[in-house]
Symmetry: C2
Subunit: 336 residues, 2 copies
Amino acid sequence: MENSNNNLFIEISKAADFFKSKDNFVILTHMNPDGDTLGSGFGLAMLLDRMGKKSTVICSDEIPQKYEYFTSLAPQNADFNKKTTVVAVDVADVKLLGRLEEKYAGSVELCIDHHFSNIGYAEATYLDSNAAANCECIYDLAKALGVEIDKDIALALYTGISTDTGCFRFSNTTAKTHRIGANLMEYGIDTAEINRIMFETKSRIRVELEKMALDAMEFHFDGKCAVITVTREMYEKTGCKDEDLEGITSISRSIEGVIVGVTLREREEGGFKISVRTYPPVDASAICKRVGGGGHIRAAGCQLGPEYNAKQAVAEMLMHVKAVMEEDFAGTVTDK
Amino acid sequence: MENSNNNLFIEISKAADFFKSKDNFVILTHMNPDGDTLGSGFGLAMLLDRMGKKSTVICSDEIPQKYEYFTSLAPQNADFNKKTTVVAVDVADVKLLGRLEEKYAGSVELCIDHHFSNIGYAEATYLDSNAAANCECIYDLAKALGVEIDKDIALALYTGISTDTGCFRFSNTTAKTHRIGANLMEYGIDTAEINRIMFETKSRIRVELEKMALDAMEFHFDGKCAVITVTREMYEKTGCKDEDLEGITSISRSIEGVIVGVTLREREEGGFKISVRTYPPVDASAICKRVGGGGHIRAAGCQLGPEYNAKQAVAEMLMHVKAVMEEDFAGTVTDK
């Protein structure tokens, strides 16, 4: 199968043949690295090491502290004085190489990925879009290579699978994901400890943010709607950036009885960026469309201009939430 | 194998024979029912239904709202005008039958359980203490009975397994747990939706409590120690009871960099109930022993009497935390 860029999508056996035929690899991971790209990178590096080959894993950005133990698992020994073979793992687009894009975008010989959206930038790509995590692809590659998995490799691959599936919780999880998880556990890894590190540890700034979000939350329409407003003052007080707020939007909807969660974030230039999250039967995109926004049925967004202060922006959104709820419930909705 | 009460521990095939030989069952679940006892009970009820037998699942306490959908899955049709066969699932001790203890304690013919601590109160017991969830035992029973699992049965069993393992996160999870999870997924259940209901929904009182706990948190010793004090005033303000606070003790330790989490709860009669949670190398029980308490190396508890006010109680605990940290780190620990 060839994509529009005439790049080749190949079978796993061909990917295995490729790795067998080379000896000195650079393994690219995606920017803002997560457990799956790093588990894939260091997992692959260990497979290559067991085959007597050399490799080094590189990334545009610093490796987050909780993944740092990966780096001690695989010898980082590519010989940069000789020709290196450049491969990429879990990287759907050259843009995701970050600072490495300029140097490597045109020279990726093989990409191993699980993103349906992969643009086919590499000379050849092994893509399994049914894989919940790219580490499932690396697991399949190990089998195709005939390399024995060991405890360290299992640790890296399990970490990638667990982090990309929210520990087998998200809808991308398949029966195969569980079967690979089972097989990896049998190498004696301490999955409870891995998951503790991956899921139970929160940063101080995240805790401050959650506190702030919970403090700012108000309930409407008999507890069915929760509204969080994050003002500029709050940004300044906690020293948080907009990126830090990812995930905050899901807090309101997670409260028992809430079916519409609205999060308003005051923009630096004034006005508000608004996220709406809903549960059936309420249509989030219908709410946002009423103020010129849009999105999906359960997750949508819109904006309100600097002519609104916080109180007015909340009142405006509540009016639209009420209207859509009345439509979706086919009845009158009252506040308090 | 017989236990000290001369009750019989039997193989799964014998348990299957037992169910085949009877027709009219009462299935007992444990008090304060959770996903595993209810998944086991309603899962078993469905298996019996598919075999043309009648049964009713009963419980001392009300079924929590999030498990209510179980009740519609299995016909509750035991004939109480005829002799019923009483079985128990996930019930380690007759005391755990709650209000049903008096009526049923002496008449349980078969118990299916996964608790190592099972006291052997039933006439016969099938016990698999390696099973992370009792629903694994019910899965094995289905295989032994030769009854085809269907989507509804899979839903009940998956729910029990997921809730008892924190969605495959806790240390009780085994490779077998994952393999059963994989098999159950293949019946087409929406595991992401089940897990959303089980794990992502928080009660309003729980949210209030978390907010309160985070508001009350203070950090010491370069962020290595987090202290939460829950005063009587906070209890009154949120209307929460002592039971509601379970789980709050783990919040402090979950923050990045924290290795000692101390939670002080003011008692109604004055004084404080104190929980200490640690990560290596700090010994929680050593901290608590210094004030007459005790426990495990990572989780311990102690009390301070009504002669302490909140500030004094915190100061007292910090002194002991400092002493034990200095021992465990073999160096001086300073606050701020």
